[in-house]
Symmetry: C2
Subunit: 345 residues, 2 copies
């Protein structure tokens, strides 16, 4: 099999610019909302391999996308660690037993793959269902991002996590090390189950100062890259730190294959900075999907025309698609990326 998405990450020739969309299986799709209603609640949807497969396939059936991504939550690992993940309608994720101190961290088991078997079952179910139409992306949250949820339980100030970072850095490092071990085992098992590529989402890396980002977030993502490459040297791996535009040269040095970027950096500058080392994924402002088809086409062309070359670039939004977008606009986006990227060559 030869897939443009995989080839772009490995800098092999592609027939056109591949595109997938972060959170492409999501609430903007009426068929997703129907499956979600059938499941009853979000966690049941995540934990049922059949339903997770159903929603993963929905955007693939509807649009000409170049990759599927496992439908799951980024907090499956802390949940398997026994923190008791739950969701209240209209609020962010919460944990029944958040991490409070060193004692809590010492108790955590890192050997979680038995408890996460529903994820691997989901991967193999999806892989079978895809039948090689497009490649499948597996994923995990980054250790730093998982830690912020485990210690603060969400929110955007990260008071408790940062308090630990400043007062007890070694305690936080122990948690991050344990998370790193679990993430490596988790991603490797997703690959064994059928994932063709994996991605690490570092949603909250951008709230750290530079040195803290390097020490508490990127250090562990680099270990993950090495831990996955040691087992699966040919599987491409992508790192994405939201608001991490200023750290891209460091990210590119980890040995990853691709870096995700948001729309607050310019693609042509990113290509100049790291395009010789890694593939680049991004970076349309998700809000462009609220605009008219004409404006969407104009904005897509603005992004696409910044990248020079026939491989090493994957089109995506700079952040997840929002729930109130019209699916028709997504079709405009996907088709425009393919058409215009062929015209350019």
């Amino acid at each position: 099999m030869s897939f443009d998405y995989i080839n772009a990450l490995l800098k092999k020739p592609t027939s056109r610019t591949p595109i997938w969309i972060m959170r492409q299986a999501g609430r903007y799709l009426p068929e997703y909302r129907a499956t979600r209603a059938k499941a009853g609640d979000f966690l049941t949807l995540c934990k049922s391999p059949e339903l997770a497969c159903e929603v993963t396939m929905q955007p693939i059936d509807r649009f000409d996308l170049d990759a599927a991504i496992l439908f799951s939550d980024i907090l499956t690992i802390p949940d398997a660690m026994g923190l008791g993940l739950y969701f209240m309608e209209g609020e962010g994720p919460k944990f029944r037993n958040p991490i409070k101190n060193l004692k809590d961290i010492k108790k955590i088991s890192t050997d979680l793959n038995n408890d996460l078997s529903y994820v691997f079952d989901g991967v193999s179910t999806i892989k079978k269902s895809l039948n090689n139409r497009v490649p499948l992306i597996g994923f995990s949250g980054s250790p730093w991002t998982l830690a912020t949820y485990m210690i603060d339980g969400g929110g955007r100030i990260f008071a408790s996590t940062k308090k630990m970072l400043f007062n007890e850095p070694e305690t936080l490092h122990l948690l991050l090390m344990k998370l790193t071990q679990s993430v490596i085992a988790y991603l490797n098992q997703q690959i064994v189950s059928g994932a063709d590529s994996v991605m690490v989402f570092d949603t909250w890396g951008g709230v750290l100062s530079e040195q803290n980002y390097l020490d508490f977030s990127l250090y562990y993502m680099e270990k993950i890259v090495k831990g996955v490459k040691a087992q699966h040297p040919n599987i491409p791996i992508t790192l994405f730190s939201k608001n991490g535009g200023k750290y891209l040269t460091h990210i590119a040095d980890t040995g990853c294959d691709g870096v995700g970027i948001d729309w607050t950096v310019e693609l042509y500058q990113v290509q100049q900075e790291v395009g010789n080392k890694v593939a680049i994924q991004g970076n349309l402002d998700p809000a462009v999907l609220y605009a008219t088809p004409e404006v969407i086409e104009r904005e897509v062309k603005k992004v696409l025309s910044q990248f020079k070359g026939d491989t090493g670039y994957i089109f995506n939004l700079g952040h997840g698609i929002t729930p109130d977008v019209d699916p028709e606009n997504v079709k405009v986006l996907v088709d425009c990326v393919h058409t215009f990227s062929k015209e350019c060559r």
Copy 2:
């Protein structure tokens, strides 16, 4: 009078590094919570010159701060435009009559200073109360930031504002131009009433791509700088775009005297970039105030030691102080900045 805060902005000699703290009159102070309770609700507190003066003075009485900042809300201008600002406990600001279209924008009056007289009364009351102990900072929200609240009513996706930006840029520009006129008149009248310096807060500039930031946010802030300087050439003006680290050279080119920076950029790099043009204000991570006194001192020294020279730098947090900080830690911070900045010389 010679104030370190003003001298630092104008790059005249200072006796030590001045410090003030964004949102220094706020909920972390028990005396603030008492005045707030006495006022009944937040808007009454803002609209009473005596109570606004009372809370403005509280941190000045408690700590050795180098400047006072007018206690007010950034949304006074849209409120005076008739949008009906209100606050629900525990939620962000809301408007009864948000902007929906061009017709709404055309109706808006920009001649607001009569309706904003409570702000100017507050400024003169505070100025009298300060009795030249420290200088007084006046402020406004940036046009782009005000527009996001007026159109979307808060939130972090800015769906309606960005929809207007992409589909009807000229409609948004009309609103931004009207806001700019009002902000210029507002800041000039604050200066006439006694403000020694003014600051523009661009809380949401950082959610824009580079070109959109330049066109929809900075373009109007530059007009504000010129509009204030035309009337008051000697009053220093500071611009602060949250998450605007990558736009600092553009910000420094507006003719402003100072730029605010958050903790995701390194002070020494900012000094190299724009330190020859403007003074710099920032940039301790507000979460450091959750740490122990020893850690606060260590982190303050890390920031302070990055700046070379005896003027052109004002210590501050990189964002507003959070409500659950212990005031004792603020004392540690303020005193450490003064002591260490003298020791360094």
